[in-house]
Symmetry: D2
Subunit: 363 residues, 4 copies
């Protein structure tokens, strides 16, 4: 069950980068949710490669197809099976380097773990392409969460050391979708794009940070002590290829904060309870507070770079130099935004159903 996530709203991933398709099963979606293939497309579109100079030139339509679980335009309570076909797969490009693992990639660990049987073409199961499945599950989860008035916003807050800080949520909502790096600040977006283009010219790549903001999350989501909101979300985020760090609210900066600075005072607001600050990222004791849930996800620079790199020929067990051809993104951070949103949405949906909150809304 290592390819399944969630206990009540459970997604199961399948498919390979250069196989016939990638897909996802969603088990536990309540019956009665209006759902059609068009609902999947906007998010798939945001993840789709081949749209600009700074993303992989692989040409994929990435049309989401629902194979089961929907009848008369509504979910039935049965498992949803959703797929995206691989149309521009060029598996032959990868044949020659299959025995020389790419530094920073999963080639070597997959080789060790699966005894050389793993589908290595384009990274196989380890390719970012597999996340198209999660994005479709995320689209379903977002539709469910919308019934609770929960909104998930994602944006690129850093690329190659260039930072953008969101001043308010409207800025994120409006600006992030409007530029190819999904940055909340249009000027900073331009600088990020140029940095990516420079890296590309140098045969190099850039990392960055994605920020996820979930607005309207009701208080009470999260199932301590182990299935905390942070724990479940971080596990989902780390399934995205290239993620090396996850933090919530003040995150790593708590290391130089005092309690008096980090504690969020409680106040009355609009007849309910709120906090004046949100250092906690909307989570205390692993449970949502009702304030916006804030997570940040560090995404490493794409390991596939044009420069020659040192590696090992696993067949001959001798040093080998590797030059990666293929088609790759010089920076996967922008495309990771919608995937991280999907991961957050799937987890929030699962925890809302586990808390008995979402089920009531559907009825």
């Amino acid at each position: 069950m290592s390819n399944s996530l969630g206990k009540v709203f459970t997604v199961t991933s399948f498919g390979e980068s250069h196989g016939e398709m990638v897909g996802i099963i969603v088990d536990g979606c309540p019956a009665g949710l209006p759902l059609c293939e068009a609902d999947l497309q906007p998010d798939l579109e945001r993840r789709r490669p081949g749209k600009s100079s700074i993303s992989s030139p692989r040409k994929e339509l990435d049309r989401g197809i629902i194979l089961s679980g929907v009848f008369n335009g509504k979910t039935t309570g049965a498992p949803l099976c959703m797929i995206v076909r691989n149309e521009d797969a060029h598996p032959e490009a990868y044949e020659k380097t299959s025995s020389v693992p790419r530094p920073g990639h999963a080639d070597y660990t997959a080789y060790v773990k699966y005894g050389g049987y793993a589908d290595y073409r384009g990274g196989g199961r380890f390719s970012g392409r597999v996340t198209a499945g999660l994005v479709m599950a995320g689209a379903v989860a977002k539709k469910l969460l919308a019934l609770l008035n929960v909104e998930i916003l994602g944006h690129t807050s850093e690329i190659g050391g260039i930072k953008a800080i969101a001043r308010d949520y409207d800025e994120v909502r409006k600006n992030a979708p409007a530029n190819p790096v999904h940055c909340c600040n249009p000027q900073t977006a331009e600088i990020m794009i140029r940095a990516i283009e420079t890296a590309l010219k140098e045969g190099d790549s850039l990392g960055g940070i994605v920020e996820i903001i979930a607005l309207g999350v009701p208080a009470g989501l999260g199932e301590p002590v182990f299935d905390t909101l942070e724990g479940e979300m971080s596990k989902a985020f780390f399934s995205i290829p290239g993620v090396k760090g996850v933090e919530f609210g003040a995150g790593f900066s708590v290391a130089h904060l005092k309690g008096s600075e980090n504690n969020d005072p409680f106040i009355l607001k609009d007849g309910g309870i709120a906090t004046t600050s949100n250092q906690s990222g909307g989570i205390l004791g692993g449970i949502s507070t009702g304030m916006p849930v804030i997570a940040r996800v560090a995404v490493k620079p794409t390991p596939s770079i044009g420069q020659a790199q040192r590696s090992i020929d696993l067949q001959k067990m001798e040093p080998a130099e590797l030059e990666i051809k293929g088609r790759h993104d010089p920076c996967i951070v922008p495309r990771a935004v919608v995937v991280a949103e999907a991961a957050a949405a799937v987890v929030l949906c699962d925890l809302a159903l586990r808390a008995g909150i979402l089920k009531e809304v559907i009825k």
Copy 2:
């Protein structure tokens, strides 16, 4: 099952801070492992309060007791039930503030989630005291991992902005246990201690960072796409009260690194494969590479501080000022070290058993 962690080596937590005991069930420990209560004590001792000026004055013996699963000095394959009694519980100290949630604590979210029925005394299930159970499970896991020559080292790498960088593993192994803040550098330890004492005088508290180093982890642990080594470990880390961030290897610094800087070149070493650097933290594609696994965990400043704070009286639904008395650590980072080690050990054990590696060793 929100209080269970792990699929093959499964731990289940129970008990409250000021109830009769805290404990843990370990299901899935292979039969034949020599185990006695003395094996639990060194780690419990490192977590135990009341040992120095900078930790909670609560006096607990914290003697680990094994109630089931061991026969003739060896594990039987049946569930281990291990407990630590609460002896110095003063639940009455908490009665008066039970309706005014402490900022930064789980009081409010527990109140919302459990409808006012949660055991609020000393934080109940949300108290750091509950981690004594995880520490005992960690002690068992470490004994199993030792059969694979895996060693788990933990140390405090930052407190209140004061940083210590481990130059080598021997330094960590030797110095961290020798000072009350578990810092790898004795001089820095002194500075950290003084900073904590100052915070205590000011009625304040400090946060910090714990680093976990797992040496000897064989390549191949981790079960992508969802049960990655990072994902499983981060979920376990986030069960520790106060953790707000988790990163592996280069972590959040990948945001300003280039691929050519972040990729770890493969080399031949001692007849096997290694990498010249370890930016990946010993993990690629969610699977261990055979290099040391490096994780860092951000721990927030203790929310219980002596200063007056703003809160809400939940009964009257009106503002209230709160002054916390009780007994609290001004900085829980040092005591979190052994808990984070335990979390890492439990996860590695589970993944080793899932990979079929550990089982063979026991036989």
Copy 3:
């Protein structure tokens, strides 16, 4: 996690027959349920040995103790840990035969599976004594189900070929608890008791059938295609030592029925929908229909008999004759009644919570 059952209302079993205690963790019990140790006692009493000439002379008080999860007389939402101490354990009685497996017992399979490390005293984990934990979980589940007006009735419908058929539920409710074999018919109970006494004199034992009737189960419980009501219940029943068959409604008699005989016609009744017969045992498509849920469980004759039996000395790998001394029930069917009730209650509780039904009632 092989010692855990249930996905939302999850029980985890621990303890051995001649260790310090047997116990159970219940994770997922909603907060706010009034619960005290006295609630556990009536069912523990029905399972307790040493009460009559036809049950094991082992003298146990079997007092249920709640170690966690209850505060101010109500459940808190945290895991319940409940135990029963072993007071009349005579482990030394088993030492001599430990290397000669008892026919019909788990001695041999435990030896193979756990490499000789299993606690063999009194059957260890395989003893019927371990079911005391399940009985306590069942007592909690019954309290929850009572909020839905669900009632669980159990009775002995057959022992040693002597059958009793319940004519109505009142008969079961009234008569079954009133005789030591828990038979719904007092006259048949007498015949059963004499049959057991005869078997005991002959150094032999008897098997039988337990029938479980769950009244008031709302329609809609069961999670197909795999977590059906029958599937989940049967898995729970088969955890009871000695169970070799499980059937629902018409059960095995469907093999000689026609569809026109086996189909239950739907009718309107009291403003709702019912069926005129109940061949389905209240379950269609793995989901409860709203009619009484009827299950029957076949329990084998106690394998521990006084007669000499053929076995193998595992150390010497040569034939050995075995005469079992110890203290054993000549027929465990009567004591299995309350255990089967508990298994059914735990499963119904889990499925009710999964269906979102029970949660609403607690609020």
Copy 4:
């Protein structure tokens, strides 16, 4: 996760009777197993409708297609996605009766549980057609088990009260596949067929019993106390539409057996340990003994019968008479044989992997 079964070898079912396809995901299949679509076909063929006068005239090719998880003719360790398309679906035949639930069918419970959103066409998720997925997973499991020299035999041991007792395994292996009712005795098969034809003429249907024999199962499979071999298998069997009872070895006949009759004496045989009889059905304490594992599964008469039946119009909430047209098997027992084999194979595979036995063989 109600549509998933198994903890290490995990199958997840999806698809509807009259949707686009039915399918199954297999997660946890070890890498390196030779597998192609032709491997799925023999078992699919045995389940396929439209082959004889006594089975549904629905014409389906039932060609198994592998969409993921295989590369270069071998499993990769990634999830297998396998489907069978629905080609002869006539959903319109079911439209008119959708609001009048068929007695003995899941129509009513599905209506209650899924709020009227379930896909009712041909039974939707509750159709026997969904078991085609399980049959494909079973074909994979059988290939894995063959590496351990485990063989799964299934046969029809009773239809409409007509019984056939297998005298030896060769008879089952040879005769069962050779007649349309999959009976081990050719003469009895003829009688069964005539009985089915008679029932069909009368607009009626027949039930029966399927026996599953697993030869070569190594001792040690099963994970007590809850994940017993009987418990896991019975749960899998009860996912097959129409199953109302499951028993192992002596099964329900233990109710009239004495311990001295039911205990299987241990003997030495071929250097190992065996039992002279096999009343236990190869299972003691929930763990395999090394003797053949014997299970029997009671299958009810097809609820879809030609005779007029009493039901309720759910829209009008008034009595309604129902005459089922559609295309149905008068007896699903013969087609359930291969499905029950698949269920047993999937469970044995999961338990073998959990015991660490199968993994070693693949390497």
